[in-house]
């Protein structure tokens, strides 16, 4: 798969991933902006409001009918927190013209025009968003905020993040805060939107079977033409600040039948290269069925069904997750802490290292085999201002030694232990 980047205007990039492997073309627009308390709720509202209608497709019904007509093109929106950025994501996935039952149709161009229209040309009345749409979407955002409690495992993770990043952008909830909603009106929000689209980082992705004319087609689109050049307002991940921390233990109660244990770890790396080492560290600690967490917490102690860890490289943190019998809290915590200690002492084998490398390298090799994974990979590079080919990525993993991993293990500190019980 060839990945090409073209800067259409300063701060606006068009990425193509040209490949014949898929039945579909995937077109995506990502708007990235610095996460902050003032705008977090507004951004969440905007991501929901834009789905409601554009100047050419005035209602959600019209948009939906159009997508259905295009052989079920799927239009989706997402809202992500990536490092200290809030990212508004918009996608349309549509089948490639080659697989349409009636030939001579060109749905790709319609797809591109539709999504650009939805994101950059919203439905406006009296210099503001439509009041009715705004009120309905406030209701939806409110539900998303309240709905945080519905998945207890995810809720526990969110709470652990909040505890670790009190008064910092990363501690904010991506859907914002209920108390902000009353203060937002349709005119001010539209004004804010106009500022946002002319200051945020814009990445446009197209993955699929493409020809040379598509780039021009996008550049000449009216909605693209009217966007201004910008010094994009986004945050490149920084190396973690080293500060003395005291282990913070938080226990909360809810109506649960299983206890949810989340442990947030800081990884105090000294340079970007160590992110690859941390990836390996995490794989051995809790990244697979061969990991210390899975083997010791689940298979040996039979304390859990889920026992794993995941690495958030943008913030250089790791979360350990486990669902346990509430009365087993102390026991589970002891076993988990023992794994962290064992990693520090280098109590893991060359075989464990080799196995982890194989797993990570296999995952890197499949990036090209999944359209959305390909886009996510290259977008991650955009946001971290790096450019590592898949081959180099694999080499970096292959070269990691046991010393490198032990080095990381000794830079790991428990920040927060969060436990949700009944």
């Amino acid at each position: 798969m060839e990945h090409e980047i073209k800067e259409i205007k300063k701060g606006i990039k068009f990425h193509t991933l040209n490949t014949d492997k898929f039945k579909t073309n995937l077109f995506a627009i990502f708007l990235s902006t610095k996460l902050n308390r003032e705008n977090v709720t507004k951004n969440a509202l905007i991501s929901m409001l834009l789905r409601r209608g554009s100047k050419t497709m005035k209602t959600q019904e019209e948009i939906s009918k159009k997508m259905e007509e295009l052989y079920g093109a799927s239009f989706d929106c997402g809202l992500d927190k990536t490092g200290d950025n809030q990212v508004l994501k918009f996608y349309i996935e549509a089948i490639n013209d080659k697989y349409l039952p009636e030939h001579n149709e060109n749905i790709l161009k319609t797809v591109i025009e539709s999504l650009l229209d939805i994101v950059f040309n919203p439905y406006i009345e009296n210099e503001g968003f439509k009041k009715e749409y705004l009120e309905q979407e406030k209701n939806n955002v409110k539900q998303r905020i309240e709905g945080k409690i519905d998945n207890k495992a995810r809720y526990s993770l969110e709470r652990c993040i909040e505890e670790m990043y009190k008064d910092e952008p990363y501690g904010l909830y991506k859907f914002g805060y209920e108390e902000d909603l009353d203060k937002i009106n349709e005119k001010d929000l539209y004004k804010y939107y106009s500022e946002l689209i002319n200051s945020c980082k814009i990445d446009i992705f197209l993955s699929g079977s493409l020809n040379g004319t598509i780039e021009k087609f996008i550049e000449q689109n009216e909605n693209i033409k009217k966007l201004q050049e910008r010094e994009p307002n986004f945050e490149i991940p920084k190396l973690p600040e080293k500060k003395e921390i005291k282990e913070n233990v938080v226990t909360e109660s809810m109506d649960v039948s299983q206890g949810k244990l989340v442990i947030g770890l800081n990884v105090n790396i000294d340079n970007d290269e160590e992110k690859y080492w941390t990836l390996m560290y995490n794989s051995i600690l809790g990244g697979s069925a061969n990991s210390k967490m899975f083997q010791n917490v689940r298979e040996k102690a039979h304390l859990a069904y889920v026992a794993s860890s995941s690495y958030y490289r943008f913030k250089s943190i790791i979360f350990i997750n486990s669902g346990i019998e509430i009365s087993n809290y102390e026991k589970a915590l002891e076993v988990i802490k023992q794994q962290i200690e064992d990693m520090k002492k280098g109590n893991f084998t060359e075989e464990e290292i080799e196995n982890s490398k194989k797993g990570i390298i296999a995952a890197i090799k499949t990036i090209d085999d999944e359209q959305d994974t390909g886009i996510t990979y290259y977008f991650g590079q955009e946001l971290s201002n790096s450019n590592v080919s898949e081959e180099d990525y694999i080499k970096k993993i292959e070269n990691i030694t046991k010393e490198n991993i032990v080095d990381i293990a000794n830079k790991v500190q428990i920040n927060t232990i969060y436990f949700l019980k009944d």
Partner: protein
């Protein structure tokens, strides 16, 4: 091998039934680095009562055995665990149990044949001991507790509870902490020996392969098996009526979660392959027509702030059950239910609009084409359809033949008010 080609998605299925009864299906994907192998048995949580081939009396086992077996099959006699061995090869291995089948699988880029060695070895060589069975009860116990905390899972199971009197579809796949406590190694061996015979199994592989060569590799790894007679599965008679119209559970959730269930009847006609496929496709079109993103009902309820986001729309069926499930979150589930029934009646009276039908038919066609992007989606789809007596390509072929009259008939046959139930999970 027999080759079935589909010109719409430009894919080929290579299929062969081996002498020992095993069906092997291969869907080549040239140029893909990912390879996917899945091996399944036509045995799931529904199969709790049966007659072992060659025996006279009925065997009845505790709920949750099929799933328990899935967990334990990874155990090897030399003390190793096949999940660890596969993971060490850098492949992504897993297994799952549904109500009608159990499957073992892996996805990889390298070491395919090494992984195949391991997969085919552990599925064909069970090793259960009192000790390894006991230890699993703690792990599965936590899996059960995890599901207890998922409101979406609770609202689903409760819907089945309200629809079915006897049918084992309503049983939780994992069983309960109480039922799994009764499982021992003898029960596991008995179920293994009954249901893990090649003639009751199917294998699907997708990736960049030469099918004939790959088939030889599969054959090499099969152990000798005596032919086996027919397994007689005993399913209780299920009345056509529902159990109760409404079921409510209290859980800590932000807003009520609801499922509207409609119990459908399986009859002679519903065993015909072409009819099964047409029915499924028609149900997908109908459900989108009634409650999809562009529907009048969805638009109205969304505008009034009664629903948040679109509900999921499903039609599930198996050998002896079929039902509709519409699930979402709402500030007022009873109002959603009322409006839904009203809209159904309106459609029955006025008939289906031709434009809506043509548009949604296109949409459903596209959704089936999209399934052919990824080796995992392809392999899983062919396996699960196979156990339902279908080749997945059939969907792409049969959709042409569906017309408005057919759809109007299905609407009348399935969407009957006395077959509907409402399940709600809400706060105290």
């Amino acid at each position: 091998m027999q080759i079935i080609e589909n010109l719409k998605v430009k894919e080929k299925l290579y299929i062969e039934k081996l002498a020992n009864g095993l069906t092997v299906m291969i869907i080549p994907k040239p140029g893909m680095k990912k390879k996917y192998m899945i091996w399944g048995t036509n045995y799931g949580s529904n199969d709790n009562k049966f007659i072992v081939p060659g025996e006279q009396e009925v065997t009845e086992v505790p709920n949750g055995v099929a799933h328990f077996l899935e967990h334990k099959l990874f155990e090897q006699e030399d003390g190793t665990n096949s999940l660890d061995t596969l993971t060490a090869l850098g492949v992504n291995a897993n297994a799952y149990t549904t109500n009608d089948h159990t499957a073992y699988l892996f996805e990889c880029t390298d070491n395919f044949y090494e992984a195949m060695d391991e997969l085919m070895d552990y599925v064909q060589h069970p090793y259960f001991t009192d000790e390894n069975v006991e230890k699993e009860k703690g792990i599965i116990g936590q899996e059960i507790r995890m599901y207890d905390d998922y409101p979406d899972w609770r609202v689903y199971l409760n819907t089945l509870e309200a629809m079915y009197h006897e049918n084992p579809i309503k049983i939780d796949i994992t069983g309960t902490i109480e039922t799994i406590s009764k499982i021992d190694k003898d029960i596991l061996y008995k179920c293994y020996n009954t249901f893990y015979h090649p003639s009751n199994m199917a294998m699907v592989i997708s990736g960049d392969f030469k099918p004939e060569e790959l088939l030889e590799e599969v054959k090499k790894r099969l152990v000798e098996n005596k032919p086996c007679g027919e397994i007689k599965r005993i399913y209780p008679d299920e009345p056509e009526e529902i159990v109760k119209p409404e079921i409510v559970q209290k859980l800590e959730v932000s807003n009520p979660i609801y499922t509207i269930g409609i119990k459908d009847i399986r009859n002679e006609k519903s065993q015909n392959k072409s009819e099964i496929v047409k029915k499924q496709l028609s149900m997908e079109i109908l459900l989108n027509l009634i409650f999809g993103r562009s529907s009048k009902l969805y638009q109205a309820l969304y505008k009034d702030g009664i629903i948040y986001g679109e509900p999921s729309l499903d039609y599930e069926f198996g050998k002896n059950y079929a039902h509709v499930l519409i699930t979402g979150m709402s500030s007022n589930p009873r109002e959603v239910y009322r409006a839904f029934k009203e809209r159904v009646e309106e459609l029955k009276n006025n008939g289906i609009n031709k434009d809506d039908f043509e548009r949604l038919k296109k949409m459903i066609y596209g959704s089936y084409v999209k399934e052919y992007n990824d080796v995992q989606d392809i392999a899983r789809m062919f396996l699960s359809d196979y156990f339902k007596g279908i080749y997945s390509f059939d969907y792409l072929e049969e959709i042409e033949g569906i017309n408005v009259e057919y759809l109007n008939q299905v609407l009348k046959d399935v969407f009957k008010e006395d077959k509907m139930v409402l399940s709600i999970v809400e706060n105290e």
